[in-house]
């Protein structure tokens, strides 16, 4: 794949971390069937129909935005080079140069133009020139947590070597609590293997740090999971907080990793109250051809009477018998140096998290 290239007289554009991740994800098949950044016809189709122009499901625009200075007079048909400070180098054939209606993009992708929505804000802050075209990765960038990074070709070999025919993927941005464990193990009961795939990338202030999440999961898997049934590997891409559309996008990426099933919980990829709690379940009806089966989970909670994690379908108890999982409450306890109760988080996991000087993004 990689070759030496002399960039001295080339048109070189320095991209940010998000775009560098997009490039590597495109190159390694995480974003299959994309082979580059979207041209206008595909963008319009994604916005209007949640599909590429060739009808293949695709819900989140993958766009490269530049300003005039960065474009430096390059034209359609030219080749430019995209680089990042982590060492990533990619070649791009400019197929199309165009502009977008940012309001339309925000409305279609996020269902709102409210600038308090992080995805909307990001869209409005995009530069004005969009270029679409195929990319060729020439040199990988150095990334943190490389030892947890597997690409689709690798996970497919891994699942095959493990003898896993059916694999369920779990997407997360947080350390595991008991509810997460319940959901993962319930899904694992019906398949051969579990692919725990935390999202590593741009984070908001107050999010758990990536190293905290990974070590917490390592502890959980080592102590509470059959070692031949769970794999932990990261996905380097940013959260868009696009709710239902992003749930489909997340499912497509995990299909590309070789998974056959994908866990979708309450308010998947949501933020604030922008999306109805189960909109991310309903959208899957539009995609009989997604190639990966969703495994839906509604609300789950700890029931003192039942003596475990249950959901409203299987537990008849209510009121004081119920302890709801609260990420906010767990976060507060950890911040105060407390180990959450065993009904909320495994002691070993809590102790791993508390072992970090800095648990949160500052």
């Amino acid at each position: 794949m990689f070759r030496d290239v002399d960039l001295e007289d080339a048109n070189v554009v320095r991209v940010n971390a998000d775009r560098a991740e997009d490039i590597e994800n495109i190159a390694h098949g995480v974003f299959s069937p994309l082979e580059g950044f979207l041209c206008r016809n595909d963008l319009e189709s994604v916005l209007d129909d949640k599909r590429l122009d060739n009808d293949i499901p695709w819900t989140i625009p993958i766009l490269l935005d530049l300003d005039e200075k960065e474009l430096a007079g390059a034209k359609e048909g030219d080749t430019i080079f995209l680089t990042h400070e982590n060492g990533m180098i990619s070649e791009m054939e400019i197929e199309e140069i165009y502009t977008i209606d940012k309001k339309k993009v925000a409305e279609k992708v996020y269902g709102t133009t409210d600038p308090s929505h992080p995805g909307v804000s990001m869209t409005f802050n995009m530069k004005d020139i969009i270029i679409g075209g195929r990319i060729t990765l020439l040199k990988e960038g150095k990334k943190p947590f490389d030892e947890f990074l597997l690409w689709p070709k690798e996970t497919r070999v891994l699942f095959r070597e493990k003898g896993w025919k059916e694999v369920v993927a779990f997407q997360t941005r947080n350390p595991p609590h008991i509810g997460h464990e319940y959901v993962q193990k319930t899904a694992l009961t019906f398949v051969d293997g579990l692919f725990i795939n935390p999202l590593i990338g741009r984070k908001k202030k107050g999010d758990f740090r990536d190293d905290v999440i990974l070590r917490a999961y390592e502890t959980l898997i080592q102590n509470y999971y059959p070692q031949d049934r769970a794999v932990l590997s990261i996905l380097c891409t940013s959260m868009k907080y696009a709710g239902p559309r992003e749930a489909i996008h997340h499912a497509i990426m995990r299909k590309n990793f070789g998974c056959t099933h994908f866990i979708v919980g309450r308010d998947h990829a949501g933020v604030g109250n922008f999306y109805p709690p189960y909109a991310a379940h309903e959208i899957f009806r539009e995609f009989p051809d997604l190639g990966i089966k969703p495994v839906f989970f509604r609300s789950f909670f700890y029931c003192k009477k039942c003596g475990g994690v249950v959901n409203e379908k299987i537990c008849p108890h209510r009121g004081d018998d119920i302890i709801n999982f609260s990420g906010t409450a767990i976060r507060k306890m950890l911040k105060n140096g407390e180990v959450p109760p065993p009904t909320m988080m495994r002691k070993e996991v809590a102790e791993t998290i508390l072992g970090f000087d800095r648990m949160f993004v500052e």
Binding site: K153, E154, V157, R285, D289, G291
Partner: protein, 78 residues
Amino acid sequence: MSEKNEKKFTTISIPTALAEKIKKKIEGTGFHSLSSYVTYVLRELLASMEEEEEAGEALTKEEEKKIKERLRALGYLD
């Protein structure tokens, strides 16, 4: 039909009796038209046909060897 729709949609013919059957079947469901139901069914059928084709994609021996070496080095395989 707008020009954009003309490029995105094409008309096909199905027997009237079949169309009537389908219309009755989709009454009260989430499908708002015969076209949307038929589109759904065809996408589902095509996807299942493509799954069978995809099973045939393979890596070279050299690629596979390198991948397994990396997986072992990282502890994912014994």
